[in-house]
């Protein structure tokens, strides 16, 4: 069947296998024809081609909870369990996921493979920092338990390893106790990027912090933005919520998202928060997952799909680099409808994890021909500044760009060669960037 990532580009015809438990999965791996590549896939929420291959092993039916450890706030569940499923179970207990991305519909397996981050990375690190243990089916069909003390090399390669070391069957994740799932939030406007950086530093002690940047504004107000900060409320009713939102039933013509409509949208958003400053209490669902309210929002970009472009630049020089990139984007007249800026704290020991100390910016672009040369130019700037790209969002970067951004790729490949000598696990992405 035809498969694609969340960006709906590229598309491939793939055979999808859906094992119902680990025995079925082992059978698939034992019976594989050696030359056939496969890649594990969760909810299909990575944007580009990292979960695409001729053969895809879906974790859809590996969606059971396995155990709860009340004393240590641990939960063990199958790779196909989504963050939403976990929130439903843990919120009534007063627990919360320590790292939440922009959507609750990702699976645990995917969250580990991409070592996802959230609005609190500068305080709390990334998702895999809370993974205690995982069960991995390796290329030979052997089932391995990996943790920081057991098979630790494989653990650090699998966390952030984009599914290339094997198929995650289940994982044990530690949750945090929170006083409430209500969030006290505040929105602070910044008239340009420099001021935004100052605000981010000023509010560095707030648990959640993320800025939305209007990258269509030019000249003096280049990079005008709104910083959203938040912290858990001290008290309040903790209950799970699943808003019933809108759904985009089919692909809308992509010309609806043009320079004009996006400018309108960005200006409206900025003016809404221009006065800003007020603190109000919001439910976690609307705070963390505003886009989940519109199911299938990716269809708004039309049949051609879109590309997400996310990178991180190391701390000291980040402001200069970001300004340069925003200038190039606005000069090319290639509007990104939504741009998100966030400060990262220190990175971790996982070999291919994306977060490293600095600032990350995520842009999304409608897919059009002129886009690709622009992104190549941006790549060069990012490498110059010592940055790197997020693999879960990438659909097009070159091998050289990847290897320059992730110097630990060689170490990763050594471990992969040991557990998967014939390169059974391989995606369109891993082949493009020269990892498999």
């Amino acid at each position: 069947m035809e498969l694609h990532g969340w960006g709906r580009y590229p598309r491939v015809n793939a055979e999808v296998l859906e094992p119902i438990n680990s025995e079925a999965l082992q059978k698939i791996l034992a019976g594989k024809e050696s030359k056939q590549f496969c890649i594990p896939r969760g909810a299909g929420r990575s944007y580009g081609d990292s979960a695409l291959a001729e053969k895809v092993v879906s974790s859809r039916f590996l969606d059971s909870f396995i155990a709860v450890d009340e004393a240590n706030t641990l939960i063990r569940c199958g790779a196909g369990v989504t963050l939403d499923n976990i929130l439903k179970v843990c919120i009534p207990k007063g627990w919360f996921l320590p790292v939440l991305p922009g959507t609750k519909f990702v699976t645990i397996g995917g969250a580990i493979a991409a070592d996802i981050h959230g609005k609190n990375h500068h305080c709390d690190g990334s998702f895999c920092d809370y993974v205690q243990e995982l069960t991995l089916a390796s290329a030979s069909g052997e089932v391995l338990r990996c943790s920081r003390s057991n098979n630790s090399n494989l653990f650090h390669a699998t966390c952030g390893g984009m599914g290339l070391t094997g198929i995650i069957i289940d994982a044990t994740v530690s949750l945090e106790n929170v006083p409430s799932v209500l969030i006290n939030r505040q929105s602070l406007p910044a008239s340009d990027l420099k001021q935004c950086f100052e605000l981010i530093e000023e509010y560095n002690d707030k648990k959640y912090s993320v800025a939305w940047v209007d990258c269509l504004s030019t000249g003096k107000s280049l990079g005008r933005s709104v910083l959203h900060i938040g912290e858990h409320a001290e008290e309040g009713v903790s209950s799970y919520r699943n808003r019933r939102g809108l759904s985009i039933p089919f692909s809308t013509p992509s010309f609806l998202l043009n320079n004009f409509t996006m400018r309108m949208f960005n200006s409206a958003l900025y003016n809404l928060h221009k006065k800003g400053g007020e603190t109000y209490t919001a439910n976690y669902d609307g705070y963390f997952f505003p886009l989940d309210y519109i199911r299938n929002w990716n269809r708004l970009y039309g049949l051609r799909g879109f590309l997400q472009y996310q990178f991180v630049l190391p701390g000291d020089s980040a402001l200069g680099g970001l300004l340069e990139i925003l200038k190039q984007v606005s000069r090319a007249g290639m509007g990104s409808s939504l741009a998100v800026l966030k400060k990262f704290g220190e990175g971790n020991k996982n070999l291919l994890s994306f977060p490293q100390e600095g600032y990350t910016l995520a842009l999304d672009f409608k897919r059009e021909k002129q886009l690709f040369p622009l992104l190549d130019e941006l790549d060069a700037v990012i490498i110059d500044y010592g940055g790197r790209h997020y693999l879960a969002k990438d659909a097009r970067m070159s091998e050289a760009t990847f290897k320059a951004g992730y110097p630990e790729w060689e170490q990763f490949q050594k471990i992969k060669e040991r557990v998967d000598p014939s390169n059974v696990f391989s995606s369109l992405q891993s082949r493009r960037i020269g990892l498999t």
Binding site: M1, E18, I20, N21, F61, S64, F65, I66, A67, V68, I75, C77, K88, V89, P92
Partner: protein
Amino acid sequence: MKVLIIGATSAIAKATARLYADRQAELFLIGRNEERLGELLTDLKVRGTNQIGHQVLDVTRQKEHIAAIQQAYDFLVHVDVALICHGSLSDQETCEQDYEMAEKEITINGLSVISLLTLLAKKMKHQRHGSLAVITSVAGDRGRQPNFVYGAAKSMVSTYLQGLRGRLHPFNVHVVDIRPGLVDSPMTSHLEKGPLWASPELVAKKIVNGIDNKRHTIYTPGYWRIIMAAVRFIPEILFKRMNF
């Protein structure tokens, strides 16, 4: 709320059981594979069920039905919802070549269901309340070339349910016939999927809604009611030449 589910490890049953677990219902699960039942049990406990029991049963062993249903009643005392979900989708061609295969198919999808319904109807009549829900199929609406053995077994159950509904009506027992269309589950993993396919989770939602609202026949997703009405409407003279 007390719910009995037979064929509990099927994808639709699993998704339905999870919806009942969200409501903190008391559950009793009957299924063929002990290990998979065990996995489901743990999963449902984490999701919110406190009281949950189970029994292993191969539905082709009709003699064991009585004991299994009794086990369920011993555990739950009375049953608010009994849902029969088990089924098998074997190859039509093989069934046409080999009567034993056809008989097995009809036993699993038809006769075993009627045996279980006989036992459950008696119990429910006695307790004077409850809902009996059975998953049949749109395949039972008209015999079609690619799956008429499966369809015949399912339509036997649908016809049986129509009569049973009237029989149990004076006793305040409600009967629901659930007819899913194409469901993207492990049972159909070998088939090519298209736009008409629905997820087990969606089907489960419709089932729970239908039982809550005391519907008689549920097509899920709803558009199958229209599709099957159209299929039934095709004159036989044309239909016999159609292979779909």
